[in-house]
């Protein structure tokens, strides 16, 4: 496979959130601000790359029957690393992401790439796939968080330029669904 093609697919063509609809739970849950979305995106990116590396290396030793539990163990170890690191060095982000950090373990994006891609491809391809998917995920969450923050609070990346309250609905969960729906519409337009 063409590696450049492999790298660019995650952004628009096979964007995990807008096209593949993977990892929607954190995408809807944590994106109240752009910072939260981007933080979640990078945490997931790290886990994706590391788990893709390990799984692509050990793919020949795992019996097919127990591959899903084995993948989960690998993923969970990296998620624990992310969780502890974030709690130590970024406590405020850790607090606002809350339960969604340990939940990366069951993020269908990570498991999906491990099962569908890393366990069938060589190391380099798997790393690039993890990077591409992770950055695409970060892009999607950042956009979603940015839109919700802009409309819900009148600010971009914490810089408030509209005084007063925004449209509260975008901070609440219905706003996440609305914003995601319209972003999917736009990305389909761009894809064409």
């Amino acid at each position: 496979m063409n590696q450049l093609n492999n790298f660019t697919k995650g952004f628009i063509r096979e964007n995990p959130v807008f096209i593949l609809f993977l990892g929607l739970c954190p995408a809807l849950g944590v994106t109240t601000t752009a910072i939260n979305g981007i933080g979640m995106g990078f945490a997931t990116t790290f886990v994706l790359i590391m788990s893709n590396i390990v799984i692509s290396l050990i793919k020949n030793f795992i019996p097919a029957n127990v591959r899903i539990p084995s993948f989960i163990v690998v993923i969970a170890s990296f998620v624990t690393i992310v969780e502890l690191t974030m709690a130590a060095f970024m406590p405020s982000l850790f607090d606002s992401l809350g339960l969604f950090i340990p939940l990366i373990v069951v993020n269908c994006l990570v498991l999906g790439r491990a099962e569908a891609f890393a366990s069938k491809n060589n190391l380099i391809t798997a790393v690039i796939d993890g990077l591409s998917m992770g950055l695409g995920f970060t892009l999607a969450l950042g956009l979603l968080g940015g839109v919700r923050e802009l409309f819900g609070d009148g600010s971009i990346l914490g810089w408030k330029f509209i005084q007063g309250d925004g449209m509260l609905i975008f901070i609440l969960s219905p706003g996440a669904f609305l914003a995601l729906g319209y972003l999917i519409m736009l990305s389909n337009k761009v894809k064409k």
Partner: protein, 334 residues
């Protein structure tokens, strides 16, 4: 209307039930309520309604023309009805840009996103109203006091709706004392419309006249309004009989809030309500039940808007399970 629909085997009987005629009928039925609201809230009501109708029509035209690129459907008057209904569930001292935003959400999000009239699963006017209600709770819950025709626009003198007063004092005072408070309107005032509230929901008498007109013209059938109102009366009456010191009587629940406006004009929207009469009754009972649950047991004083939207989402299911017997189908006599 596309020409395809006019081609059918003979004999040809041409009905006058076009979308335009039905929408005209709804607008005529809404007129008495509009008169009442102008009498009590003044010219602000005319401004709000005008802005809502105008922006709904403009947004529908723009979306139709530039985004969907389809035949212009503004002439079927459905956008006008949406605009009037949206204005009718807003307070009169709301900033005008919120009215425009609500119209954009109602038409753009509630109707055109799904493909225009006939394809929307939710009542567009209520989508706009609930969007505003969740986004700007402060502006949407400050109700002007009715002062007559000369009430200025953006009058600062606001008061709570009767349902709001009950909810505020609930649990602290017995209902009989809440009812005797100065700010609580009497039943005659409630019936005529002299109370704080949204534009169109105050005049119970005018709304009932509108319902009779629509029933007479066969624009709606009795099933939905009667089953909603009946359910509310039964539940409110039951609660009241069990514990009159904690629950308001059924008449109070009937006359206050958006119940009549919702039951008569919003729940009966053709697109979003079930097609069979048995389905309509189930749908109406659902709305009445949810309304009373929200009014009595939730943090919100009024629940008609959410009840109707929730039952809107159940409508396809009701349509699927409750099918009328086809002509000639074998009837199971057991």
């Amino acid at each position: 209307m596309s020409n395809l629909l006019n081609v059918s085997p003979s004999p040809h009987v041409h009905g006058k039930e076009t979308t335009v005629n039905l929408m005209k009928g709804v607008l005529i039925a809404l007129a008495p309520a509009f008169v009442v609201t102008v009498l009590f809230f003044g010219y602000a009501a005319i401004i709000i309604t005008g802005v809502a109708v105008l922006s709904c029509v403009i947004f529908e035209y723009l979306i139709q023309r530039f985004i969907l690129r389809r035949e212009n459907s503004v002439n079927d008057l459905s956008a006008v009805v949406t605009g009037v209904l949206l204005a009718f569930c807003l307070p009169t001292n709301i900033p005008l840009w919120l009215v425009v935003l609500g119209s954009l959400v109602a038409i753009g999000m509630g109707k055109m996103t799904f493909g225009g009239l006939g394809c929307n699963p939710f009542n567009p006017a209520l989508v706009g109203r609930v969007f505003l209600f969740l986004s700007f709770p402060v502006q949407l819950t400050s109700w002007p006091k009715p002062k007559g025709f000369l009430t200025g626009y953006l009058d600062a003198n606001t008061g709570a709706t009767p349902l709001g007063i009950i909810k505020e004092n609930y649990g602290e005072l017995p209902v009989s004392e809440i009812m005797a408070m100065d700010q609580m309107p009497g039943y005659t005032d409630m019936f005529m419309g002299r109370m704080a509230g949204s534009l169109g929901e105050i005049g119970a008498l005018a709304l009932l006249i509108g319902m009779l007109y629509m029933l007479w013209k066969k624009i709606i059938t009795w099933h939905i309004p009667v089953s909603i109102i009946g359910t509310v009366i039964v539940i409110a009456g039951g609660l009241w009989l069990v514990n009159p010191s904690e629950n308001a009587d059924p008449l109070f629940h009937l006359l206050t809030g958006g119940l009549l406006l919702g039951a008569i004009f919003m729940a009966t929207d053709y697109v979003t309500s079930p097609m069979s009469s048995r389905g309509m009754i189930i749908y109406g009972i659902g709305i009445g039940l949810l309304t009373m649950v929200i009014r009595r047991y939730s943090a919100y004083p009024e629940g008609v808007q959410f009840a109707i939207l929730i039952m809107n989402s159940v409508t396809p299911l009701i349509n699927m399970y409750i099918k009328p017997k086809r002509f000639g189908e074998e009837v199971n006599n057991g």
